[in-house]
């Protein structure tokens, strides 16, 4: 449920780094708490986004929530499959359900993210108890 090859942000987003690019999505926990996802708003490609701010919004049958961008950068690509099939996020949050790719601005920000073990511990100790 929490693969080792990605890094995690406390607002329940994951990033997979590949060179100067990062692919972003939401975690298994996030999609599970949102429930059935019905819409993903397309962010503007080429716009910049700062770490810890809103990348885009997701609507589920339960709520409309922000997707928080774990790292700063410029949006290169949005997963257009999500326009007609947003439910892919529920089905495959770390694979076909990726949301966007950004060009990283400051790779040192990666250090602040959690690995899978840390994220699971964070979920158990801080999130799920609330």
């Amino acid at each position: 449920m929490y693969p080792d090859d990605v890094k995690y942000h406390k607002e329940h987003a994951w990033v997979k780094i590949s060179g100067s690019k990062a692919t972003i999505g939401i975690t298994f926990y996030a999609q599970e708490s949102l429930g059935d996802i019905v819409y993903v708003d397309a962010p503007e490609v080429e716009s910049t986004v700062e770490a810890g701010t809103e990348l885009t919004q997701i609507e589920s049958t339960k709520a409309t929530s922000s997707v928080i961008c774990p790292l700063s950068g410029t949006i290169l690509e949005f997963n257009e499959e999500l326009i007609d099939s947003p439910e892919i996020i529920n089905e495959d949050p770390y694979g076909k359900g990726w949301i966007a790719v950004i060009e990283l601005e400051d790779k040192s920000e990666i250090g602040a993210l959690m690995d899978a073990d840390e994220y699971e511990k964070y979920l158990d100790e801080e999130v799920k108890l609330k």
């Binding site: 708003d41 609507e59 049958t61 339960k62 709520a63 409309t64």
Partner: protein
Amino acid sequence: MKITILGAGPGGYVAAIRAAQLGAEVTVIEESEVGGTCLNWGCIPTKTLIASAEVLHKVKNAHNYGLDLEGTASPDIQKIVERKNRVVGTQVKGIRALFKSWRVNLVEGRGRIEGPGKIRVAFKNGSSEDIHSDKIIIATGSRPAQIPGFSFDGLHILSSDHATNPAFIPRSLIIIGAGVIGCEFAFINNEFGADVTLVEMMPHAVSGEDDEISELLERELKKKKIKLLTNTSVEKAVVKGEGISVQLSDGNTLEAEQVLVSVGRTVNTKDIGLETAGVKTGQKGEIMVDSCMQTSVKDIYAVGDVTGGIMLAHLASREGIVAAENALGGNATVNYDVVPAAIFTSPEIGSVGLRERQAAAKGIKYKTGRFPYRALGKAHAMGEITGMFKIISEEGTDRILGAHIIGPHASDLVHEIAVAMEKGLSVRDIARTIHAHPTLAEGIMEAAEDVHGSAIHCLKR
């Protein structure tokens, strides 16, 4: 007392019936069809088209409700327009029957004020008739506004009048103006299969609404793949073969089969004898009236769109009632603070009172409460969960200042708040009132609770 009314739209015909109820001898002059824009080219025709679009949408999504349908559903625009004509025809007959029942005399021609208490009616056959009365109520309404370089031809460049009577569904449609009318036609044409682009000068669609309502509607446009270009105006249009190309202020050009211009409405005050009568008009030609709906000339009243205010059928009707009562010795006024409005987009919008930005601009200390449709069991059962309720209230007094609803049946739901505002009720009055379950109206109760942070079906913040 003899009263003559110019125009049989929702302002004029309602004034006529109220005046007749109060014992006046009433004549109504109408050059086109009773019911005016509202019934013939506005409110009712669009709602009829929307009803067809909604059924189409439901049928296409029947599988979501566990229904297996064979074959495909597609709009037959001729039959849709025929249905619209039947609906309009029934309503027109209804008004004519009301006139007969109240002994309102309907004169079908074009009226012009010729002197104190004197109106000359010109008939289509060239003859004319003079009508004398003690008081006159002007209710001549408005027509779609034109913009230079975009003359309506009904083929490539349409007004909203044309759009209520479509001969075919365009493959692609550019709509200039993303206001109430533009957005309603955007959703209708999109559902019928047209590729729709809205071009709007202002930064948002339905910019007269509360900002959060605009924001949510813009997302729904996006979901339907209706393109919206904001902060953009149009320069000129060139007919090109089968279609038309429109040059935008940003230098880009758009091409489509048809263009619909919906940039507002112009008052009908030309050549109705206002100068002869000495009736004062404003900068846009609108007739100036006082709070009793009387013009600058004693015994001449004006109501509805022609007065240049908020152009809404139901406001015209209220003004018509007020004018009729005052013409017959009453002392009625209109409460412009509580004018509910409805926009029949998908989903619908219902609003009344202050927008949040207006409350802020007035320096009022206010609170807001919100509740999503998504949190209502009824919305899930209906399969329509997009939308929100928002209530704005005055801090301290708890008095309701405005409400904004976007979602299914918003246009009906908003009236609970309209009554509450008319009676000066507080948010707590709404919250304490039991609302039936399962209904969408529960959302109003919850939004009222949320003003004080106590909505039941909201996670703790």
